[in-house]
Amino acid sequence: MMEKIVLPDIKDLHLIDVYIQNGGYSALKKAYTLTPDDIIDQVKKSGLRGRGGAAFSAGLKWSFMPKSTNKPKYLCINGDESEPGSFKDRQILEFNPHQLIEGTLIEAYAIQANAAYIYIRGEYHKWIKLLEKALADAYEYGFVGDKMKEKFGGSYSVNIYVHKGAGAYICGEESALMNSIEGKRGYPRVKPPFPAQNGLWGCPTTINNVETVANVPPIINKGWEWFSKIGEPKHPGTILYGLSGHINKPGIYELPSGTLLTDLIYNYGGGVPGDKKILCIIPGGSSMPPLRGDKLEGIKMDAESLKAAGTSIGTAGVIVMDEDTDLVKVLARIAKFYYHESCGQCTPCREGTGWMLKLLNRIAKGEGSTHDLDLLISVASNIEGNTICALGEAAAWPVRFMITRFRDYFESRVSKEVILPVANKVHSMRHTEFPLAPIKD
């Protein structure tokens, strides 16, 4: 039996009494006997890495918070969960909200936060209500707010507030999330300065994903050594893997990091309906570079292994596409998403996402040419690295990698017509190393 850390199979665990009966809030009590630095040190040593997309060391991030400052400090928990293919944080809100609250309280203490905000996407009305109920109970029991001092006999207390989003994928980006909490349009901020220096209301702030924080209580309870031995040493712990698309048993599976992708799909997910072959897989939400279905053997699901395989863990939301999938339509739909969600601050992202969508729609209609494929790669490459936030990469990667990795597939969907470069009168005197494209028949 594989150990589950974040979503254990305990009936009614969302109820505070059941949670306490199963050892809940004991990690918090233990945490208050430690110094904030001890906690940060333990989380660092545990090897816990962020589950929100970038897999950054949680303990290291916490240690960036300035120790001596007159400014208030803040903690933001990111439950925006809007990356297509991701639906894991929602399970925590529904089945184990107290572990999220407990983790939030421990992290708040470790960074000495004056307040913590849990930002949840607006569409999750139902799950916001569930979390608010759990939070109200935690307040009543004295785990949160003023009563903490009495309960734990210390001098630290903190409030947790739920902040409801209103439908904007970009607010999952940490600096946009802070602007959104501040009551502004959700525009990402230029970094540096980083949130630990200049975050919410210009004060030191740490942002972590819901799943990341839910891992903290067990680490404090059972020790960093225990945690660091689960799964892949460089990205330890369990991961809430999502399975969606053409799969017999879709859902969230909590398994050790480094689980084989093929194991996940065939053993846990029950394989592909109709025993069809897999054409393509997106391993971590729609922003991550897609993989060819015929090259999945031996790929492990953790940050380092997926990097070596030419993609990224992202949110670990695996989207499976069978051999009959129309990849052009899929890519056009992905492009539509990023075009819709671009906040419009940076020209390459705002304009590039629109051009990629137009080109892909043209190809989907059967009116594309080989030239369009190269143009798509060129537009995507010009977005990457030239924008304020990583939505640029999120929009560019699927396009660039899908076309290069499935070149044969995309070539078969466009006409072979070669568009000759047109001589540009103004620049024609300039030396160029590029010869005219050879004419193929």
Partner: protein
């Protein structure tokens, strides 16, 4: 049309404001309260939100137009949101979307003549593992097929 918050809602607004070091961050919650009271966010509602939070009307407009969940025009009594993003698309999300469009004879953003239904094509709602899905007002309906959609719409007509 004048818009003023009910006394209960003003209390709720004051509670939300107390969560933050200043008034402005309450704006998202206050806009939800305005939308709940009015059904959608009219310009008069924006003006009132601006007044209550000591912000400018332009700032409020900027926020309302940035976020997709604030309705700038009236929606139906039942606002149908169909996800057509990848995971749903792979499981027939577009079939559901097209079916609803045809059945209600409205386009994206449209409202039926009897004001009962409105339709919106939405991005991923976090139901990818239970696709295809449709959200009706605040509730999620998942693992759907066309037949069930028909049943749901019929049952709402009689509500």
């Amino acid at each position: 049309m004048e818009f003023t918050f009910t006394p209960e809602n003003l209390n709720r607004i004051n509670e939300v404001i107390s969560h933050y070091p200043e008034k402005r961050p309450a704006v998202m919650a206050v806009l939800y309260i305005a939308q709940e009271q009015n059904g959608w966010i009219s310009y008069d509602a924006m003006k009132e939100v601006a007044r209550v939070l000591e912000m400018t009307e332009e700032e409020i407009l900027g926020i309302v137009t940035f976020y997709t969940m604030y309705h700038e025009k009236p929606v139906g009594k039942f606002h149908l949101q169909v996800c057509t993003n990848v995971s749903c698309m792979l499981k027939g999300g577009y079939k559901i979307y097209d079916h609803v469009k045809e059945k209600l004879a409205i386009e994206n953003g449209g409202v039926t003549d009897d004001k009962l239904f409105s339709l919106e094509e939405v991005e991923c709602m976090g139901s990818c593992g239970t696709a295809p899905m449709i959200a009706i007002n605040e509730d999620y309906f998942e693992n759907l097929n066309i037949q069930q959609i028909d049943q749901i719409i019929e049952s709402l007509k009689n509500k």
